[in-house]
Amino acid sequence: MSTLLPSPQAASPALRSFAGQWHTRTPDSLAPLREQAMQRFLKLGLPTPRDESWRYTNLRSLASRTFVDAPRRDRSEIEPNASLSLVRESDRAASLLMVNGHPSMPNGDGFIKGLEISSLSDLSKRDPHMLRGYLEQPSDPELSRFALLNTALFVDGLHLRITEPLAVPLILLHVATGDGVNNVAYPRVIIHAAPDSAATIVEHHVSQGRHAPLVASHTHLVLGKGARVEHYRVFATAADAVHLDSLQIRQLESSRLEQFTIALGGGLVRAGLEAQLARDGASLNQYSLLVGHAERHVDCANVVTHAAPGTTSTQVARAIAGDSSRVIFNSKVVVNQGAVHSESRQSCRGLLLSAQAEIDTRPQLEIHADEVKAAHGATTGRLDPDMLFYLLSRGLDRETAQALLVYAFLADVLTGMSMASARSAIEGALIAQLPDSQTLRNFR
């Protein structure tokens, strides 16, 4: 065990317990790769505010804890749709369940036409070479530090291969559920959209029961030439849950991704996103809707890299913080040498609803190519007094006017969602966490 720890006396109980987990895993075909990831993670340790990408999020409370794997749970022990239902009964959608990272495999082939589903435990035996291909793709160790931990310690997960346009949306319900205060889960998902395929995929994170485990999840999304994907990740866990998620994206020629990151639950949510626009004409529209409520802490860190000519990216973030919550949105666009005629746009707006709340935003640009169009802007404030007065002067009562403006603030992101049932459910859940929610419901 000590061979994995650079300085055992300095290591926290948390790090020692992660190393302990590594030792109890049965080595599989990924062992060398996992060991490398574990060593890198242990060397880096838990992030501190001195790490640039973690300036605003302090994980000190984790350090003194000793983590053990969250229990496996049978499907029958899970209450369906733990907190928020993104699909109505009447909708046609397919759903898959993952509990603490362990997938429930659907029975039989042809679950959805054009979708091939494998568990990662199976794939590591059947096609380790392919699986290693995904795991070896480099990611920023500082930004996505817990992706390293996930690589080292994930037990199972899902590989979804989309081979043609899917007729219905796919809902992936991630349930985190613990049997004690110090559980940890490592959900891992790989989604590969083959050339010219198309899909709408919702990853919906919820928790069940009293002790929500620490979740260190990772999703890898690869879009082949001409593929079109709409991907949602919705964080809706309990108020005591700590969720460290990273999303790694790689887009090939002329692929198009609409990505929605929605934080409306959890005590601490860290959502990393790394996107590589790797081939000509790839296009990414990334939307974040971040709601700080009660004492929630939401930290989003995006890095979008334009690595090929003619690639385009848009990042639109809307953050609302009430009570004593804190929302952080850092986005960075890197345009590599040679990525000429690339275009990027970043727009982040924050709305503070209480004097104790805090919003921090920082858009950054790093351009190493010529003939590039890049724009960014970030503003944070309270409700616009001119807008408020205008509505009051038309006879609307103050409560309605304020609620209407909050709703309008979110609209930019909501209107981008093409999946009506998901939009409606997300809207409903967001509104429930805002002041004057009773009034807000009338606008829908």
């Binding site: 616009d384 007094p385 205008y390 002067s393 006879g395 309605t400 403006l405």
Partner: protein, 252 residues
């Protein structure tokens, strides 16, 4: 009957005294024009009457149908029948233009003890008023003033006024930035609201609007006070001789 009675009104904006003892009386059925050079306090007067909170009233009184207007919050003033057409209507993306109209109308109806407007009736009312203002159906689906040109914003203000049918409409430079066709449309809208029980106060810099909406009374505002009042001919004389003529007259 006196609808609006302003007595010795004093107001301050950002620590600066703007209105310095203004008196004005507007009777039902009348159209008044308030003219004056830039910085004379015209817009401040309009904003104070509508209830803008960051404009501090430091003296005087305003009675609206005998009620103390200054004691009412802005939304109550609106429901009591006061309407301000803004000089610079704010854009509110994400708040639907028609939704606002409906919410405004229902707020007023509620205050009047009436039931909410029927959806079908409302839509036909809106279409009729939009037609009068030469506005296309596209306005129905857009955010409040979102992406509207200057002229479209002003027409939207008048549309709101026509739907709400206020007792007292204060139009703050609703004519500025309009081309001649738009000016005629806006004027026709304003004229259609004229009635024995209503009053209209036109705050304007130019005589142009008054060619189409004939005022009963014209006042010149300067240095935070009404310095001269007269009939419609005063506006024409101002246009010909400039504000200096009145201001010099005041000194003399």
């Amino acid at each position: 009957m006196t609808l609006l009675k302003i007595s010795d009104l004093k107001a301050r904006v950002a620590g600066k005294d703007i209105l310095k003892g203004l008196d004005l009386e507007v009777g039902a059925g009348q159209v008044h024009a308030i003219m004056g050079p830039n910085g004379s306090g015209k817009s401040t007067l309009a904003q104070v009457l509508a209830g803008r909170e960051d404009y501090e009233v430091t003296g005087g009184s305003v009675a609206f149908e005998g009620r103390d207007l200054l004691a009412m919050p802005p939304e109550e003033r609106a429901r009591a029948g006061l309407f301000l057409g803004f000089q610079y209507p704010v854009e509110i993306p994400g708040v639907n233009n028609v939704y606002l109209l409906k919410a405004a109308l229902n707020a007023k109806r509620k205050a009047d003890g009436l039931a909410e407007v029927d959806a079908y009736e409302f839509l036909s009312l809106i279409r009729q008023k939009m037609k009068a203002m030469h506005m296309s159906d596209a306005f129905l689906t857009r955010g409040v003033n979102e992406g509207f040109s200057g002229g479209e914003k002003k027409r939207n203000e008048v549309l709101q006024m026509l739907v709400l049918e206020p007792k007292l409409a204060i139009l703050d430079e609703t004519d500025s930035g309009l081309d001649i066709d738009a000016l005629k449309i806006v004027s026709a809208g304003v004229n259609s609201l004229r009635s024995p029980e209503r009053a209209i106060v036109l705050v304007t810099h130019y005589q142009r609007l008054l060619d189409y909406v004939a005022p009963d009374r014209v006042h010149v505002l300067s240095g935070g006070r009404i310095v001269r009042s007269g009939d419609a001919s005063l506006a024409r004389e101002l246009e010909r001789r400039g504000y200096d003529w009145v201001l010099e007259g005041k000194v003399a």
